[in-house]
Amino acid sequence: MDHELSPDELESLLAAYAIDAVDDDERRAVEEHLRRSPAAADEVARLREAAAMLAIAGGPPPEGLWEQLEAKLQVSESARPPAPVIGIGSRRAPSPASPAAPAAPAPGEGDRARRSRRRPLLAAVAAAVVVLLLVGGVIVVASRGGNDNPTTTAALAADARRQPGARTATLVDDAGNPLATAVVLRDGRGYLDSSLPALPAGRTYQLWSVGGSQPVSLGLLGRAPSVVAFAASPGTASLAVTEEVAGGVSAPTRAPVAVGEVRA
C-alpha cells in the first residue's frame, strides 16, 4: 500500500475484510483499526455472523475422519505425563480413546512435557494453567490443569494457609453444615478442600466467585472433588459451589449447594 488509508476507506473495507476479501496490507490496516474502534469490531462480528450463513450447507463429515483426528490428539497426548486416576474433573478413568487431562504442574516442578503445554504469559499462575473465555461479558476461568494430584495439591493447600495475607472461607449448605473450606492467596491462587457428596455420572460441581455483578466461574470440580486448586481474582468476596451438567455452564443454573464469604 502506498498510502495510509483514511477512516472512510477503512470503514468501506469492513465488509470485504469480514469475508477475507482484502489483500494482506489492507487486512493489517483494518485489524489495526479494529483494535482502536470497538464499534467497527462489532460491525465485523455482525457481518461475520451473516457470512457464516452462506456456509449453511451441512451434512455429516467424511467417515473415518474423526478417527484420524483423534489419533493426532493421542500423539500430542503421549508427550504428557500420565494423569492420576483420581482427580478433579476425571469423569472416568483415562482410556486410549479419551485423552485425559494432564496433571497440574506444581510450582517449581520441572517437567518439560508439562511446561511445553503451558502458555508463557499465564505460566505465572502457579497451580493450573488458566484459560480466559469471555462469555457474554462474564469471564469464565477454566482451569486447564485438570487432574490435580491430590497429594501435592493438599500439601500446597496446607502451605497456603500459612502464607501472609491468606484469606479463608468456610462454605456451608442451607442448614449451615460446612461442606468445604477454601484459602485464597494475595495473588489469587486458591485451594478448595471439600467433603461434597459424590455426584452421578454426567454431573459435576462447579466453583464460582460471587459478589460482583455476576458469578464468575472458577472452574469445574468434577464429580467427587477433594482438594482442588483454582485461580480467582485476588479480591474475591465470596465463593459458591453449584451442581451442574458435566462440562460445566457459563452461568449457574441452580442454587448453590454451598456458599461462604472469604475473610481475612
Binding site: M53, A55, V135
Partner: protein, 196 residues
C-alpha cells in the same frame, strides 16, 4: 463418527471449557456438531476432498490446542470455526493461485453455485430460512459476495472478474451482507443460531 457422548447436552461454551481442560470427549462433541459444516465449506472452496479433509483436521486441532482463541462475544462457536476455516481456505487458494492461471480460477468460482449439499434434519428449517434470506439479495450483491466468499477472491479481483469499479464491488459486498444480517435478525436466527 461415534454416537453422542457425555457432552451431548452441554452448550458450546461448556464444551469449550472442557476442551480447555484437554477433555477429548468435549472435542468429539464439538466435532460432531460442527465438522460437517466446516467440511462442506472447505469442499466447496477447495474442490478437493483430500484437501478439505486435511483442513477440517487442522481446524479442530487448532481448537484443541488454542481454545482461548474463541471469544463468545464475537459470535457463536460455529461462526468462529467457519471463519477460521474460511481464512485457511483463502490462504490455500491464494498461494495455490500463483501456480494457476486466472481463467481457471474464474471457472472455479462460476462453478460454485447451488446449495445442494445434504443437510442434517436440524439444519433443514434453518437452511430454508437462510435460502429465503439469500433470495432477498440483489443479483449483483449475491454475485460479488459469492465470488469473494466461495472463490476466495479479493474485492479487487472480483471487480476485475465482473468488470466493475472496485468501489462498486466493495459497497455491494457491504450492502449485501448487511441486508443478509438484518434478514436473519428478522427471522430470529441471530447470533447463536445453532449450538446443538
Amino acid at each position: 463418527m461415534t454416537p453422542p457422548g457425555p457432552y451431548a447436552q452441554t452448550d458450546d461454551v461448556g464444551l469449550l471449557i472442557a476442551v480447555a481442560r484437554y477433555d477429548g470427549d468435549a472435542l468429539a462433541e464439538a466435532y460432531r456438531r460442527h465438522a460437517g459444516a466446516v467440511f462442506a465449506l472447505a469442499s466447496r472452496m477447495l474442490w478437493e476432498r483430500a484437501t478439505a479433509e486435511e483442513l477440517v483436521q487442522e481446524i479442530f486441532l487448532r481448537l484443541w490446542e488454542q481454545p482461548e482463541r474463541y471469544e463468545r462475544t464475537r459470535g457463536s462457536l460455529r461462526t468462529f470455526l467457519l471463519m477460521d476455516a474460511h481464512a485457511r481456505c483463502v490462504d490455500r487458494i491464494r498461494s495455490d493461485s500463483r501456480r494457476r492461471n486466472r481463467e481457471e480460477r474464474v471457472g472455479r468460482a462460476e462453478m460454485a453455485e447451488a446449495y445442494d449439499v445434504d443437510l442434517e434434519a436440524w439444519d433443514l428449517t434453518l437452511a430454508e430460512q437462510v435460502r429465503e434470506a439469500l433470495d432477498t439479495l440483489q443479483d449483483g450483491e449475491r454475485a460479488a459476495i459469492e465470488l469473494a466468499y466461495f472463490g476466495g477472491h479479493t474485492y479487487r479481483e472480483v471487480a476485475n472478474i465482473l468488470e466493475l469499479p472496485e468501489g462498486t464491488v466493495k459497497s455491494r459486498i457491504r450492502t449485501g451482507l448487511t441486508r443478509l444480517r438484518s434478514q436473519l435478525v428478522d427471522r430470529g436466527i441471530d447470533g447463536s443460531w445453532i449450538t446443538s
